[in-house]
Symmetry: C2
Subunit: 151 residues, 2 copies
DNA sequence: GTGTTTTGGTTCGATATCGCACCATTTAGT
DNA sequence: ACTAAATGGTGCGATATCGAACCAAAACAC
């Protein structure tokens, strides 16, 4: 099943879909309770990009509808991983802050998936991955922009 | 929000997730009724890779659980886009065959998304996409293999 | 300043996704 | 052949996802 695509852009979307699917499965197999890849994604983002982000910023970062983010955040709050506070700059808005439990959750998850990434590094040339990354990121930014222009 | 990743493999999964998300949204905005990207994906696969594939083959091609594929196929059948027939080689199994309506659905959808890909091609160097594709595909194949070895 | 529009967020309902348990058939072991 | 294990598929239940409608606050008219 070679899955030959006439258009490289179509192929890009296809490969992204499969990689995402497999990556999500990898991650969720290592998570307990009712925790999902989306939960980890948000916690990770808060830790590495900006703690105290607003729900809408998070929704945009992951390109999901804001209703989806509301739901994900409710789950994180129920687990005690984040705390929602009012946004001092805008009374409509909120801020999402990590708790110690949230940081611990992130560390544990990273530890749990560590072996997978170690195995991936064993099987795939790290430099090859680094080489394609700038182009892939540029592509993502471009369609991101295109999406913004379309509503 | 630069979203800097320490590990290029992590970054690959991240970019794949966003690209998949945006691509799915692009596609589904152009679909009517209750039709989803997953429906189009299956029909497209049947047309371009192998008509008469079994449900399990399809599930593996898209790396989704077989229950998900059962559900997707039920939707396609309800729309009259595919027909399920018993597999003559294995009485447990089935074959999924496209109908004329299914082929028409695929053509209409391709026409509907055509302008998006035209715009993408206007904004991104096709050669750049072609250049990274082999590495991206190799990466996908590797994690695909890794996943198989892990259950 | 008052009315209009935009923006941040939630509620609600429909349905997609997926794990678990199950059945039927096929394959493997001996 | 006969049992055990593996495989293809479905039913069911829980929950994630997402669009539509909504509310409140903010930004923009003028």
């Amino acid at each position: 099943m070679p899955e030959i695509h006439p258009d490289p852009f179509v192929a890009l979307f296809f490969e992204a879909g499969i990689i995402n699917q497999i990556g999500t499965t990898f991650l969720e197999k290592r998570l307990s309770d009712g925790l999902l890849a989306s939960h980890f994604g948000v916690v990770n983002h808060l830790m590495r990009v900006r703690d105290g982000a607003t729900p809408l910023e998070l929704a945009r970062a992951f390109q999901v509808p804001k209703t989806t983010m509301t739901h994900t955040l409710a789950g994180l709050e129920k687990h005690g991983f984040v705390q929602m506070r009012p946004n001092p700059d805008d009374k409509r808005s909120k801020q999402v802050w990590l708790t110690d439990a949230g940081r611990a959750f992130r560390d544990e998850t990273l530890a749990a998936v560590g072996p997978i990434f170690a195995e991936i590094a064993r099987r795939f040339d790290r430099k090859d991955a680094e080489d394609i990354l700038p182009t892939l990121t540029a592509f993502r930014q471009m369609i991101d922009q295109l999406r913004d222009e379309m509503d």
